[in-house]
């Protein structure tokens, strides 16, 4: 498990400064009938450490640039409308809080990544309890350190075009960011991270995003826990990354031609533990994946529970439950340099004469038909054919028929009990 963002260096000094600022802090109120009627005006008047309280109503002020250390707080979810032309909020100062707003209709541009809320090069921001609707990009963090993005509800337009919808939460070159309890739907990728380090992605729900629920590249040492990824176009794709920890996530109902619960592309030294994979076309697809531990996961009713490409090696798959998948395993080579041991397979028909809870004959999870389909997808027209059912039966009766050597030499006879932290 990861740690919460650690306190910045020189903490005592910062604390002193903060206290000094607070002692002079004032609250500026913005509303249609107030002395200050625009947020931009309030920002002009504000000093570092002030709070700007914005009351209900709709504010169309073009791009609001927050370049002072302020708390920007909405009351009754005031709407900040970008009118499909502008970036709505742009934060460039450290220590800014944006809370309680409804941020809608950011501009769409082919040249710039216009966002509902963009934070650029700042640290210590808090983006909390906002509604994002119909933005090109919703939350966009670039070069940010020590930031929190929490409890936001993010809805994209759902249009399946790169030109109209960007990502829900997008991080680029960030460190120590906490992304927690957000709900993202209708964007391209729900959560996208590139060059992001030491961050925590917890308890988010990404649904119905038309590409990936979660997508990251070159983002080492992050932890993903208790997230839900459901019905995203192509599932979750994580690429070119070391030391990923994925715990207690649920990957569900990601269907499609090249869709998967979780794609591990060039992932090394990582942990995939205590996750649930339900009804995905492919539970986990492992491509160039090295030294990764896959343990205590449930794979239930997937098309393929695991696809393991020949370029993956030294991975360990153990103590998982494989329950009622169409195919438990597929691979494109006859040999495999991975450790497969002590998993529970609902399709296992072996026996346990010495009653040690471990089957006496190995389980070979790659069916002949699955192997043929893997090597030539045209064979998939035979799905559910009586011949294929017969073939599967024959394979059990005559193990010599099996095409691939990969086997679990110690299949478990009882389901692995592990706890899912709700």
């Amino acid at each position: 498990m990861g740690r919460p963002a650690s306190p910045p260096p020189h903490a005592p000094l910062l604390l002193t400064l903060l206290l000094a600022a607070l002692s002079f802090a004032q609250t500026l109120v913005v509303c249609k009938d107030c002395r200050i009627t625009s947020i931009k005006k309030a920002l002009e008047l504000a000093k570092d450490g002030d709070t700007i309280l914005v009351k209900g109503g709709t504010y169309r002020e073009g791009t609001i640039v927050v370049n002072k250390r302020v708390r920007l707080v909405g009351e009754g979810y005031p709407t900040l409308d970008g009118q499909r032309k502008y970036e709505v909020l742009k934060v460039t100062a450290d220590g800014v809080t944006v809370e309680g707003f409804r941020i809608v209709n950011s501009g769409v541009s082919e040249l710039e990544d216009l966002a509902g809320l963009k934070v650029e090069g700042a640290s210590g921001c808090v983006i909390k309890d906002n509604l994002f609707e119909n933005n090109f990009w919703a939350v966009y963090l670039s070069g940010v350190r020590g930031c929190r993005v929490e409890d936001n509800l993010i809805k994209g337009s759902g249009e399946q075009s790169e030109a109209y919808t960007g990502n829900g939460i997008h991080l680029w070159h960030c460190e120590r960011v906490l992304i927690r309890r957000n709900r993202i739907e209708g964007h391209r990728d729900g959560i996208y991270l590139e060059f992001v380090k030491d961050s925590l992605i917890l308890e988010n729900e990404a649904r119905n995003n038309w590409r990936y629920g979660l997508h990251f590249m070159f983002s080492h040492g992050n932890t993903y826990a208790r997230n839900l990824f459901e019905r995203n176009g192509a599932g979750v794709a994580v690429m070119y990354t070391k030391k990923v920890v994925m715990v207690n996530n649920t990957f569900r109902d990601n269907w499609g031609d090249s869709s998967y619960g979780l794609l591990l592309k060039a992932i090394t030294d990582s942990l995939v533990v205590n996750n649930r994979f339900y009804r995905n076309t492919v539970g986990i697809l492992m491509d160039e994946c090295q030294r990764t531990l896959i343990k205590e996961n449930d794979f239930v009713e997937n098309g393929w529970a695991v696809k393991l490409w020949a370029n993956s090696a030294n991975n360990t798959i153990t103590y998982n439950n494989f329950l009622a998948n169409t195919f438990d395993f597929a691979t494109n080579s006859r040999r495999s340099e991975n450790e497969l041991r002590r998993n529970y397979w609902s399709a296992y028909r072996g026996y346990d004469l010495n009653r040690d809870g471990i089957g006496d004959v190995p389980y070979k999870p790659v069916k002949l038909f699955a192997y043929i389909v893997e090597n030539n997808p045209a064979a998939s027209v035979l799905l559910k054919s009586p011949l294929v059912e017969l073939l599967n039966l024959a394979e059990e009766a005559f193990p010599a028929l099996t095409a691939v050597e990969l086997k679990d030499p110690e299949p478990l006879l009882r389901r692995v009990e592990w706890r899912f932290y709700e």
Partner: protein, 262 residues
């Protein structure tokens, strides 16, 4: 045409009084109900019923039709000594058989599902299953008539139908698998789709499998195949092929029967 209809109604009245056929409907109902009791998951029920349909419907339709064809040979001669056209008579008998078998199959499935109270999630899937069962019934009735007209000997005719059943349920797929295995380095989608068109059982199976929104979950990938058979055009193609499978063997038997010595 009027006499055809007349004959069809009498034939149907006779067929629907055959207890064995009601046993067929009852078994279908029993099997569907059993699937529902064993698993509440409709998707699984649908797939299990599909497997059952693919095996049982062609066998029962083909075997019953061909036996019936031979068992009623003398009545056929009696009727043909009346002012009835041979074509009219054969069509009426075929249509009555196909109708009776289809009705009983559909009634069986419906009865089994009624236990579920019609709160079906996969309604479309079950309708496609019924359609595919209907086409299987029609195709194997047709093949049975062709065998009946081709062979005067009952043993030969029945064997021919059983051989057709074995071929289309298992051997044809084995052929496809062999082709795929031998020519694995070539793009095979189109030849394979062509091969499936040559088997009513494959077509009936894919009609259901491709319709399920969870087809991908069961491992049906290959965009080309889905486009070729699963798209609107593809569905039209496979339905047309099934219509041909239902009509062509019968039409051949019809042509032969008109000039046949009885």
């Amino acid at each position: 045409m009027k006499k055809s209809l007349e004959l069809l109604l009498y034939e149907l009245a006779h067929l629907l009084r055959i207890k064995g056929l009601w046993f067929y409907a009852l078994s279908v109902a029993g099997v569907s109900a059993a699937f529902f009791f064993l698993t509440g998951d409709e998707r699984k029920v649908l797939l299990s019923l599909l497997s059952f349909t693919l095996l049982a419907v062609p066998l029962v339709s083909g075997f019953f039709s061909v036996s019936y064809f031979y068992d009623t040979k003398e009545f056929t001669e009696f009727l043909l000594a009346q002012p009835v056209g041979r074509g009219e008579l054969l069509f009426a008998r075929w249509a009555a058989l196909a109708l009776a078998l289809t009705l009983l199959y559909a009634a069986g499935v419906a009865a089994g599902l009624t236990l579920k109270g019609f709160s079906l999630q996969e309604k479309a899937g079950f309708l496609w299953l019924a359609l595919s069962g209907t086409f299987l019934t029609l195709s194997f009735c047709s093949l049975a008539f062709l065998a009946g007209v081709l062979f005067d000997d009952k043993a030969k005719g029945v064997s021919a139908v059983l051989a057709a059943w074995l071929y289309f349920t298992l051997l044809h797929d084995a052929l496809i698998l062999t082709v795929v295995y031998l020519f694995k380095d070539y793009p095979l989608e189109k030849p394979v789709v062509l091969l499936t068109l040559l088997s009513p059982v494959d077509l009936a199976r894919l009609l259901v499998v491709l319709r399920l929104d969870v087809a991908a979950l069961m491992g049906l990938t290959g965009t080309v195949i889905k486009e070729l058979l699963g798209s609107f055009k593809g569905t039209l193609l496979s339905i047309s092929a099934l219509v041909l499978w239902s009509l062509v063997p019968f039409t051949l038997s019809w042509l032969l029967f008109r000039k046949k010595d009885l």
